[in-house]
Symmetry: C2
């Protein structure tokens, strides 16, 4: 069968991962190159091409490939560009989709990582068959991908869905990257979890906690997770606080687009009930009656090392 | 030309207005009946039919009419129902679209008032040609209609777009209708403006203000407007405060769907620059760079007594 495979490429600050994916979401071939080795985008494209080529041959040649999907930070779907991505070395506006399209002679589509994850859920994951849902990525930062009426919401300019930057606590924590105060990202990200832990430790000098065995700079969201798993009261309180803020933000998002589900994706959801329980409680408490008890808050199904490749690859199927 | 007219019906708590509208948005015939006179919905439908009939005859008969659009509080587009509308006498779930469709033998569509207003702007008003915009109604309450990818966002259940109920100040003013604290509606509505005025007067017992000529219960958003027009400092501060909160909320909405424009509609926008200037300033201040200086905040063009009828009627054209 011709044309039934797609290539997914996930461009990250350190590594760029790629894979050949079939329509069931199986990654048949995978590989990666170091993004960081290429201060110039041209040599990046050259190395990427050489790295992907054997996988294309293995798959039966270029005629077997329907197209290429790319997930990238600050990716613009309409223009196929990466624009001013703070964690990439390439400055300004990079016409990445056009460059890849030319090099590979394949239809090529690009969007940001969180949108790619949302499309991945819609094509292969828990959002299969859903027409209205929101995906929130809870990683180093907080990103989002929104689907309404069965279509990705890209907005007027291709940059829709920056829910991590919405203000959830006016005059709250300062975000050094944006200059704004109180953005969701400063609370519901790995960074935010570590900050919350330090704040609580400081506010309760007399309380005991496993977290006190660590130096301040050693307290990360992973450490909080490990301590919470050992039943540390303050670490569990960190999750309660995080869930309370996150749930309230999700309620605001739900009253925007009335989704069937909100899908949580990324490192934070490893904590399972520790984060889901307070999040769902705050979510329900902040909804008006017409929305109560009908919007699911569920973990991503693509939550593993292939998720980013799958998300990017799904962009190609989403063109149909 | 057959089939080039539509009927718009706006169901309100006190009055129900209707009109025959052409594709340019001209209301050719109009009329109204008292919603309040009908504790039973059946007699309401009967009176409405009798009231609209002469307009249909005047328009050249039923064959000239393409369909009926209805705007109603708590209207559900998918089901054509009015569900638990607090300001209507009919309790529970009313299958209004089906009842009107049967009575008039015409295709009939129903949505809530704010969605109808958004469709009105898209078909006849300032949003003509826009594919991504948000309309916010600033009246007794705060409502919204959202268009993404050229389509109304109804959400999974038909109830999307309750942005007036999003929490903008955690633990802020109590909303007696929803039990939530800090909803946008408690600040950016007529009610909210009056509350803000009273709060400022109380907080500054020594300041002079024209507002002090009124008893507390006499201070309404209209009084604040009149005093602001007479250059009353505290009244102008009320608008600054309202704009600051509203602008921040609009920034959150913009980071959701990245619209081309946000359209403001309703009583509050009569204040013109008094409300637009602080709103736009707070809006821009709370956006991340990729959104700055490119999203318009503009007043509705349908802001007159026909707006609700036009919005409802536009639902029919939007089916094409």
């Amino acid at each position: 069968m011709e044309n039934n495979l797609v290539i997914g490429i996930d461009i990250g600050g350190t590594n760029t991962k790629f894979g050949i994916v079939n329509s069931s979401g199986e990654v048949l071939q995978r590989g990666s190159i170091k993004t960081k080795n290429h201060p110039e985008v041209d040599t990046f494209i050259d190395e990427l091409y050489l790295a992907v080529l054997p996988s294309i041959e293995f798959a039966g040649g270029i005629d077997m490939i329907k197209g290429i999907g790319i997930g990238a930070p600050n990716g613009n779907y309409y223009k196929g560009t990466i624009e001013h991505a703070p964690n990439l070395e390439w400055k300004g506006i990079i016409p990445m989709a056009a460059m890849i399209r030319e090099k590979f002679s394949l239809p090529t589509f690009l969007t940001n990582d969180a949108n790619a994850a949302a499309i991945g859920e819609m094509i292969y994951g828990v959002a299969k068959g859903m027409k209205d849902f929101i995906l929130i990525t809870l990683g180093t930062g907080v990103g989002s991908g929104i689907v309404c009426n069965g279509k990705m919401v890209y907005g007027h300019d291709g940059f829709a869905g920056e829910l991590g930057h919405t203000i959830i606590i006016p005059d709250g924590r300062y975000h050094p990257g944006t200059g704004l105060h109180g953005s969701l990202e400063m609370y519901a990200s790995a960074t935010g979890v570590a900050m919350t832990a330090k704040e609580i430790l400081l506010a309760r000098p007399d309380s005991t906690s496993l977290l006190r065995d660590y130096k301040e700079e050693e307290i990360t969201s992973r450490v909080v997770y490990e301590c919470a798993m050992k039943n540390d009261v303050i670490s569990k309180e960190v999750y309660n606080y995080t869930g309370k803020i996150l749930g309230r933000a999700l309620a605001n998002f739900a009253m925007f687009s009335s989704p069937e589900a909100i899908i949580l994706f990324g490192g934070l959801i490893k904590a399972g009930d520790l984060i889901f329980t307070p999040t769902i409680q705050a979510f329900e408490n902040n909804l008006i009656p017409i929305y109560k008890n009908k919007i699911k808050i569920i973990p991503s199904k693509l939550f593993d090392s292939d998720a980013a490749i799958l998300g990017a690859s799904a962009l190609v199927w989403d063109q149909d």
